[in-house]
Amino acid sequence: MPGLPAMMTNFEARKGHSFHGAHEGMVQFLRFAAIRAVLAFFTLCLVSFIVFSLMELVPGDCAERYLAFKNSQGAQISIADIEAERVRLGLDRPFFERWVKWIFNAFQGEFGDSCILRLNINQLLGQKVWLSIGICLGSLLLAYAIAIPVGIIAATSRNPFLNNGLRIISYLGLALPNFLLALMIMLFSTMVFGNSLTGLFSPEFRDAAWDWPRIKDFLSHVWLPVFILGWSATAFAIQTVRALMSDEIGKLYVTAAAARGVSGRRLLMRYPARHALSPIINSLGFDLNRIFNELPIVALILTLTEAGSLLIEALARSNDQQLAGAIIFFLTGSIVAINFITDITLAIVDPRIRRSILG
């Protein structure tokens, strides 16, 4: 596919005087990227505002919750204590001011302390956020690494066994909920290997520093959540790729290219596959979103305390607003980021979009 360099040569051809043309194209492209980045930033601000407001709507605030927690531990708490705690946390300030402060800190990666655990959220989350995002991206990568070749073969093959086989596997992938698959694998491995395959690290590596043995230990655990999350994602992605490919293959421009003597793999890759790429890139953000949604429950079953189950814990069990807010901020942040990346990639890959921005 023609990336930036190809685009530049087009520009050279168009403008005649090469340096100026290439330069102008680059400037316009960067301007487009900058506008998209600003839009992404605003989306994130908006989401953070919603998250922050929701946190406000939950009855009680951090001060009350913490002191109530203390109370249950046997400490004597007075109204005055709560007020003092509020002032200390800045909760007596107006809503808008607190949001601005929160978002300002959030963009600097500072989320304050957890309401209940009284620990700095960054310390608490540590690498968990990155591990979760990594697991989701890994699943997405796995899904498309399988779906693109399989989808293309499925769309081009006229072999009924292959097609029906793939269809059955896809339906299984779509119909079998992730958590059920996770439970089944755990059950199976407990019975066969006496090991439930849960967690992301073996106990001895849990708090160790990253080194080669720890990486190996991590990889020996992480494939399972990636596989389980990737399972239905792959089924979805195969359906997407196959449908998009069949669509493109049926189009007249493919027959027209064949009529000009283009054939074989070149015909397949340069024409339908190349043209199915844009809608596939478009669907990536959507797929990642779905994987994120499925992460918490899978994490809960596989007891991946390192990953998304923390969110359920933070939200449902302990009502820890600060922590939940930070996690949601990270999750939406990564979805906004992937949408930004797909937008930019689309502009590079698809001349229709490229032309509409470069004028």
Binding site: Y253, A256, A259, R274
Partner: protein
């Protein structure tokens, strides 16, 4: 003139979910180098699939009849099109000696590949030009078909060109490999009338210059009268009348051709009511027995029409029709 292509007993069926349908049945015609043949018929009569057969380009569910023969006469000897198997063998009829201009100029360019890249790609497949030479020739061809600022257009995409411009680019691309036979499948239907006329003129000029044969597909006999030397009329997958344009238009011998001509507005009397052919085209799943036209024919001459397939018989030196009105028994009846 020398013979360019012979099509003999072309029969083409398609396997569909509803069953096997016959799209072309027992079609024979031939074309000389430098000759323009019009192929006319209503929608669905099988014009496009006949054209694609010459390049073996029909969809995967196509089945060619065992007696079908298509022979392309080239300088290095005849090519038996039906026996071409591999992609390499087929290159000669796909963009090499035969070029096809499709019905839809917009949809026949790949949207995300520039016009120029597609032209160069074709030249690289069929000639031993270098990329630079291919580029030069492509720009020259774009210029030749009347596209202004051809080197800019070369780098553009189909969506950046107007309809008329796209069709010109399509013609430039089709002619760039200097094919012996150009098939133009309704090259003007998507265009407005003035541009239609320009494109037709352009094609006429190029034919005489390149000396190639053209099969011009249309449902409009009026366009044929302006462009073609001879004409073949098709109905429901069968040829029903063939002859020189003069003969066929002045003295149509087949009731279907007469029907088509009656449905045409005339210059002498623009306001005269048009009389479209009555009746519906039968579904391809229910092909009429005997003469395929008998369900709509207004000159039916009895049970033979429904039972016996009429053969071609000469009505003049260069004019033949497949209708029982013109075979011996019909004439005596």
């Amino acid at each position: 003139m020398s013979r360019l292509i012979d099509v003999e007993n072309l029969t083409l069926q398609f396997d569909t979910d509803e069953g096997r349908i016959t799209a072309v049945e027992d079609v024979s015609f031939s074309l000389e180098a430098g000759e323009v043949m019009g192929l006319v018929g209503e929608s669905g009569s099988g014009k496009s699939v006949t054209a694609k057969s010459l390049m073996k380009l029909n969809a995967g569910n196509a089945i060619y009849g065992p007696d079908s023969r298509i022979t392309l006469h080239l300088e290095d000897g005849p090519v038996d099109v039906m026996s071409l198997k591999t992609d390499t063998e087929m290159k000669v009829v796909r963009g090499g000696a035969i070029s096809l201009i499709f019905q839809e100029p917009m949809a026949s360019f790949a949207p995300a590949i520039s016009i120029g890249e597609q032209m160069v790609e074709q030249l690289m497949i069929h000639t031993d030009f270098s990329k630079a030479q291919a580029r030069e020739l492509s720009i020259e061809m774009l210029d030749r078909v009347g596209i202004s600022d051809a080197s800019t257009r070369f780098g553009q995409y189909a969506f950046e060109l107007s309809g008329g411009m796209r069709q010109r680019a399509m013609i430039a691309m089709a002619l760039s490999t200097k094919p012996k036979l150009l098939i133009a499948d309704e090259p003007t239907t998507a265009l407005d009338v003035t541009i239609q006329a320009q494109v037709i003129d352009l094609m006429k000029d190029l034919v005489s210059e390149f000396g190639m044969g053209i099969i011009f597909i249309t449902h409009d006999l009026g366009v044929i009268a302006q462009t073609a030397d001879k004409v073949a009329v098709m109905y429901l997958g069968r040829l029903v009348e063939q002859g020189t344009v003069r003969d066929v238009i002045r003295r149509p011998a087949h009731p279907y051709t007469r029907g088509l001509l009656a449905a045409l507005p005339t210059l002498e009397d623009i306001d005269a009511p048009l009389t479209p052919i009555p009746g519906d085209i039968p579904s391809p799943l229910e092909r009429p027995s005997g003469c395929v036209y008998h369900t709509r024919c207004q000159e039916v001459i009895g049970a033979r029409c429904a039972n016996e397939i009429p053969k071609f018989s000469q009505v003049d030196t260069d004019h033949a029709a497949a209708c029982h009105l013109h075979d011996e028994q019909g004439e005596t009846a």
